[in-house]
Amino acid sequence: MQAAGQKLTDAEFNALRDYIYNKSGIFFTERNRFQLETKIKERLDKTGCRDAFEYVKHLEDYKAGAAELDELFNTVTVNETSFFRDKSFISALEKNVIPELVQKYDMPGFKQIRVWSAASSSGEEAYTIAILLSECLKDAISRWRIRIHATDIDDNVLKRCKDGKYKSSALRNVSPSLIEKYFDRSDADTFSVKNNLKEMVVPAKCNLINPASCSAFSGVDLILIRNVLIYFDAESKKKVLKMCYENLRNGGYMFLGHSETIFGVTTGFKMVSFVNATAYRK
């Protein structure tokens, strides 16, 4: 299905690549140039721009630009995600990290945990944490104040997170008993998360590259920043990881995607190895 793409000249590709990079930190390498080419056609068609140069100009136009920039982000981001994605990561949380946080904050008058699912896409990851916390705390959860910030740069996915409606394919790793407990079936293939989960999850827009946009999430106990660093170049990755370190409370944990590491970035993180999952502790 290569025909669907828009062949970009080297100069066009570079202009677009640099523009996207400056605004979002997402860096399209030569290797995933094709990915950009397939996606950009849609935006060129919609805006009626003849080539990428004209499109970049359009983006720079202060009136039309802001809205189109969001559209561009929505188009070029890869939003693949699902509930209980990555079994080993889930069991590290379930068996270790969540019980540890719960034990740590189980004090009269405190009982508060804040989680940040940065780059949460359509919210599956955030709701998964909500389920794990509910399973751990059971009835006691009513005495806890739980906040799970679900943020992303892409408005479309944030809206889906807010709606909390999912197809069964997103739930393929959730056991029937958990589905029963935490979802309402709205039709044959649509499941809505129940209100008690929704109350914990707070969707918000946040560009990880932009420090101002991240400051609202400081002092969290757990950061999930999974499968997003791959889109950043070394420099942005460094900045984002430093920001995560600063935003985390002492003793808090950060998880990256399964094959991602923080190697090469000097931070105060300690690497904690769980069975087939790595976390970083402050």
């Binding site: 080993s88 069991s91 590290a92 068996k95 270790n96 990290v97 094959s259 590491t261 923080i262 190697f263 090469g264 300690k270 690497m271 904690v272 190895s273 769980f274 069975v275 087939n276 790595t278 976390a279 502790r281």
Partner: protein, 303 residues
């Protein structure tokens, strides 16, 4: 259920194990000699035909990646090395000796050997990756580091079952559960066995001190540390034995510190990546484990 006179009772249990075959003693003696000869070694091994067969089978496996199939012991020794062949012999013998009697309830022997093989393979890959020189046969050291578990299980399968269950229920280390439930631990028991078998001292120390590195002798501490670290990594890679799922900061273990003291460059390595990339060793580990279990079994053995 703390057991009184545990050592004495376990010793009795060890008495009932077949002794380590003379051929192993002969091999060990030969290996200690400075100028030992290919032909001497292969001669000794060939005295035991079923042993030779198993060694050749393993030597020809993908693990060693030989360019062509070898059919003579002398070629095998020449290609994969004296130490290596000697340890293959040892492996074949040890799995044979420790093989459960038919019909007797035992712990999960397959995952036990999988963990042991993984520890040995990881130790080898670790040293290669980070240029750590070792004389010791780390693969063999990895294989035998936990033999004490088999002995305790044989002594009382019910007790060991309880120990393993506790690790799952409480997410604790096996050794903690052992100490609490029977008041002894597999490292000490393993040491007793290896001592009785009169294997080289480094194997005794690996078995006896892989959880207490400071008790190892200066000469062998590094080898013990490498096995100890590989033991942690094996668990992290999903080749654990028991239900301990806790996280570990590898860089803060005694094992890492000891190795790092001699190899300061280790601090700057991407250990997370190394651990991830070990996925590539999965097939090797599974293959070796299968061969070991199958190789040492009499023909009647069926899965």
């Amino acid at each position: 259920m703390l057991i009184t006179n545990f050592k004495e009772k376990v010793y009795n249990c060890i008495e009932f194990l077949p002794p380590i075959p003379d051929i192993m003693k002969e091999l060990n003696e030969l290996l200690q000699k400075k100028d030992c000869d290919l032909r001497d070694i292969s001669g000794v091994i060939e005295k035991d035909p079923s042993l030779s067969l198993n060694v050749l089978k393993i030597a020809n496996s993908a693990f060693y990646g030989l360019p062509y199939e070898v059919s003579s012991m002398e070629r095998a020794v020449a290609l994969i090395g004296l130490q290596e062949v000697a340890s293959l012999c040892m492996v074949c013998n040890i799995t044979d000796i420790l093989k459960p009697e038919p019909g007797v309830m035992t712990m999960d022997i397959k995952s036990f050997w999988e963990h042991s093989v993984a520890t040995g393979v990881i130790a080898k890959i670790f040293c290669k990756e980070f240029n750590i020189r070792t004389q010791e046969n780390l693969y063999l050291a990895g294989l035998i580091h936990d033999v004490g578990k088999i002995i305790i299980d044989r002594f009382s399968h019910i007790a060991y079952d309880g120990i393993i269950k506790a690790t799952h229920d409480e997410n604790i280390a096996l050794i903690e559960a052992e100490k609490r439930i029977i008041g002894e631990s597999h490292d000490r028991v393993g040491g007793w066995l290896i001592e009785k078998w009169e294997l080289p001292k480094v194997f005794f120390e690996v078995a006896a001190h892989h959880h207490s590195l400071m008790d190892a002798s200066d000469g062998n501490r590094r080898a013990v540390a490498i096995i100890s670290l590989s033991n942690h990594i094996a668990r992290i890679k999903g080749f654990g034995f028991g239900g301990d799922m806790r996280g570990i900061i590898l860089q803060e273990t005694d094992a890492f510190r000891i190795i790092n003291a001699e190899y300061p460059h280790l601090r700057d390595q991407d250990i997370a990546r190394f651990v991830m990339d070990l996925d590539r060793a999965d097939n090797e580990i599974a293959g070796l484990e299968r061969m070991m279990n199958a190789g040492s079994r009499p023909k009647t053995y069926r899965r």
